[in-house]
Amino acid sequence: MSDAAQNTAAARPGRLREFWFYFSENRGAVIGFYVFLAFVVMAAGADILAPYSPTEQFREHTLVPPFWQDGGSSQFLLGTDPLGRDMLSRLLHGARYSFLVGLVVVTVASIGGISVGLLAGFAPKWVDTIIMRIMDIILSFPSLLLALVLVAILGPSLTNAMLAIAIVLQPHYVRLTRAAVLTERSKDYVTSARVAGASLPHRMFKTVLPNCLAPIIVQAALSFSTAILDVAALGFLGMGAQPPTPEWGTMLAEAREFILRAWWVVTLPGLAILITVLAINLMGDGLRDALDPKLKRS
């Protein structure tokens, strides 16, 4: 069993295979991985897979139940919503938004957080203190509340919701990166790199960063699912994607008043969120087991 540093830094052949070996020990993680793969395929192929356009309204077919229920038809496999739009098509297109949300939020939050964390880890003590204090301040606000207020002021839209969630999630990356950098920085290989004349940027990005990546990758997986949940929550509160966008949270908000008359318009979008988030969290657990031997089998 190798430690985290070797696992990510040494570019020996078969690294991927070794990773898969540990990853696949966790059966849940493998299931999560395949579900996530299916989710990505749905997101990518929504245009081909969906039978109708997500915004096309069949006015004479409003609130048709799913096909297995009385009154359902094979024309609309998962039924239609109050405006007669096909649920299946909307859900498939919704996968696209959720995937986009996860990707954008994680990219923005991790790039920002890693850079600031590296800076904090290498900078003089007072810069470090100021940065960490700012992160403490951001973390004092419940994340959803801060995102809500940010979006309220920037104006409700999917882009602003993603931006707000990215800002709120970013301190976690800063803390993780800084902690990892501080541990690595005092190790001999970093000292020898400095003695060998490696420049500061080289030491930051080439020497130290690759050895800090393991916990960050795990965090990225976990914040992918947090991002999907939070943006859906903002959509549900009317502060995220705006109708008629088939974003899952927004769909739930639109369907709320039909909760007791048509279970499928409420149940299905939420189920889609739950399955996606669950799959990603399962995968995250497996990633942690595979990349972070310290936490292994806990």
Partner: protein, 335 residues
């Protein structure tokens, strides 16, 4: 210990000032003029605009404004709501008991179920029970709680008709606010059925709000227990011939509790964020719903004041947890 306490307080103060700075800056720095927003569609005359600007102090230099704001905060003055014209401070404390009551119930639920679940799972590690429980915990952890709330409403309020959909108590009952906690007040009122009505209103929101903390506590307890169970002193206890109940309950759980308590303390923020969604769905008249309503009404003084107060609560709880942690664990104090 005193030094540790002081060190914690020293980091608390700048964070507090930062929090006031952020909630102050939100209105003024970000785009959108709050006075124009207040006027709404009708618009307003230039004189009225100037008068309002002077009234709210927006015409003064930004530093003076912040200084006044900070002074007000320290004296419990957070300005008045644009909508109700009442002091934000008073509104906050009028609504806070509702949120507190709901949060306490959710936390009790989470601890009462999560702790035993985590212990049992750890003791039966790898067995069917452990796997089922941890799968359930992962589902709970991944749950979009706003959807979970709607599902529970469909089943328990819609199909079974067991629980009401919204509010804290039936409108039939009317009694004085003594503590602000509906459970206590309704019991004190002595009215037939009032307490039962309060309990029935509380059940679904409690479950919804408690779900994620419950899952987190169960997972954390399990992993902390597993770590402790592999320690030498547990083996010694076993070798001494102590009963498994005594080992698990007394020796292992007590030591496993330290990280669990930290997690419980840290989930206060989660709880307050969850309260925003839960209260909105169940029309629960607490600060979460108040914030959401104020945000959509663009009631900036409320948003600003509420944001600061909530952050302050989270900070105070974290500080308390840190201090308690230092009390329990001398190693922390030394750092």
């Amino acid at each position: 210990m005193l030094r540790y306490l002081l060190a914690r307080l020293v980091t608390f103060l700048p964070t507090f000032i930062g929090v006031t700075l952020i909630s102050f800056a939100f209105i003024r720095v970000l785009p959108g003029d709050p006075i124009i927003v207040m006027a709404g569609e009708r618009g307003m005359s230039q004189e009225r605009y100037d008068a309002l600007q002077a009234e709210l102090g927006f015409d003064r230099p930004i530093l003076t404004q912040y200084w006044d704001y900070l002074g007000g905060v320290l004296q419990g003055d957070l300005g008045n709501s644009f909508v109700t014209k009442r002091p934000v401070w008073d509104e906050f404390f009028a609504l806070f008991p509702a949120t507190l009551e709901l949060s306490i119930c959710a936390m009790i639920l989470a601890i009462a179920l999560g702790l035993p679940a985590g212990v049992i799972a750890a003791v039966n590690r790898g067995k069917f029970f452990d796997r089922t429980l941890m799968s359930a915990a992962l589902v709970g952890y991944s749950m979009p709680i706003f959807w979970w709330a709607l599902l529970l409403i469909i089943v328990f309020s819609g199909n079974l008709g067991w629980t009401p959909v919204s509010g804290r108590i039936d409108l039939l009952y009317f009694f004085d606010d003594v503590t602000g906690f509906m459970l206590i007040d309704s019991a004190l009122s002595g009215q037939e059925g009032a307490f039962r009505s309060a309990v029935r209103h509380l059940i679904l929101p409690t479950i919804v709000l408690g779900t994620i903390p419950l899952a987190v506590i169960a997972r954390q307890t399990r992993s902390a227990m597993l770590e402790v169970l592999s320690e030498d002193y547990i083996r010694t206890a076993k070798a001494k011939g102590l009963s498994p109940g005594r080992i698990n309950g007394l020796h292992a759980l007590r030591n496993a509790l330290i990280p669990v308590i930290t997690v419980i303390g840290l989930s206060v923020g989660t709880l307050l964020a969850g309260a925003i969604l839960t209260e909105t769905i169940f029309s629960w008249p607490g600060i979460g719903k108040w914030m959401v309503d104020s945000i959509s009404r663009r009631d900036y003084p409320v948003v600003q004041g509420g944001l600061m107060m909530i952050a302050l609560i989270v900070m105070l709880v974290n500080l308390t947890v840190d201090v308690l942690y230092g009390l329990i664990n001398p190693k922390v104090r030394k750092q």
